[in-house]
Point group: C2
Chain length 215, copies 2
DNA sequence: ATTTGTGAATTGATTCACAGCG
DNA sequence: CGCTGTGAATCAATTCACAAAT
């Protein structure tokens, strides 16, 4: 099997979000051109992306919105419940626990872990917070396979290893630290700083362009 | 001038984070190979990225860590104070206001805006929260040019337009909505869902691989 | 002996161009 | 026609290969 290109995977959630809106407006079909214009993409690119999800459109009419939604969700495994634990419930971890959209796409946080004695034993957004020392055991006992990491500082690698020791196979890493784990562990980094770097550099480049319009 | 490739810009912050750590460990020089291994990248790619920042290394010795840090920060405009406002101080907005790393790279939030009467007039992480109706005027009066948007639901476009009306030229958009603004406005999206899509799809693909090892 | 810097080759992604279908 | 599906062409990014530097 060919693995799906990462850029395609990254675009699919934005298609989904748009499709929900179009469906709620009562639309039944949508063309690649409409999607492309709404999301500032190329229509061919939209069609190629959709091809991966095995949806086929009808000439003249476009794609069925409900079918597209269903198939994209299935393709991403967003139509199934996925339990997840989170290590680190500072402000970012708390924000994630309270983010309502996760429930819609099947992510259910079943526990949080932290070192702060004030937090341990409490509930955040109705999710129980445990001592981080219980992380490995909890994962082993519950069989959860997704872990998110939002700890500050440099304990990231150690915590990831505890997750893997318990049986987690997929890690969503919000920290700035690069993880080194077995190659059967799937790690995906979700960071703010790369996009801020693009933003601030583009601002400088725009200034330079304006001052020296020699392109 | 050639614009810097986006993948390069996105990697620079991870270099920076590693370089801070190496510097704090007392190291003075670093080779592209060391950086590449630590961050799971290709050494040539690291060297090409560094070329953009105008740092030149010394054969046999590598790059000066302090020089690299300084030049990457300068390249990204992370060595200068940049005022920013934020619209929407729900849990994500609150997390961002409390994220300590922003101060290190020169981002200073000078105000937050919300519709919630409970929040208006209060302070969050020591930053004053105003009524969102004051957004345009505040921006005009303060001359701030960066705006972050973390509002829930579908008011994103409207709020972005209010920011632009006040004079913001760079928008950091944390919502799932695609913005349509003048082409002199720099917009950068910072979303969670694309990376979650990569994570969940990679998990399915790994399962498929395991079940049908016909690659 | 290493490590940079960089053209050349390769791989990957996007966009073009158009055939085919309703 | 209007729209999909797709091979071909283009563009962009990564990786290779090696000369130059110390």
């Amino acid at each position: 099997m060919k693995t799906t290109p990462k850029p395609t995977l990254r675009r699919l959630p934005t298609y989904l979000h748009l499709l929900y809106q179009l469906r709620d407006q009562g639309m039944e079909n949508v063309s690649s051109t409409i999607i492309a214009n709404a999301l500032k993409l190329d229509a061919t690119q939209v069609r190629k992306d959709i091809e991966y999800t095995n949806v086929i459109g009808k000439p003249k009419r476009g794609y069925s919105i409900t079918e597209l939604i269903h198939e994209i969700e299935k393709f991403l495994c967003w139509d199934q419940e996925k339990d997840m634990v989170i290590a680190g419930v500072g402000s970012l971890g708390t924000a994630i626990l309270g983010y309502p959209d996760f429930r819609e796409i099947g992510v259910r946080f079943i526990a949080g872990f932290d070192t702060d004695p004030e937090k341990i034993g409490s509930k955040i957004h109705n999710i129980e917070i445990y001592d981080i020392n219980r992380l490995t055991d909890f994962i082993r006992e519950s069989g959860v396979s997704f872990g998110a990491i939002t700890v500050p500082g440099d304990r990231t690698q150690e915590i990831a290893e505890k997750m893997v020791a318990g049986g987690v196979t997929a890690i969503w890493n919000f920290t700035r630290t690069q993880l080194h784990l077995g190659k059967d562990i799937i790690v995906e980094n979700a960071r703010f700083m790369p996009s801020l770097a693009v933003l601030t550099r583009r601002v400088i480049e725009a200034q330079i362009m304006k001052e020296h319009p020699k392109d």
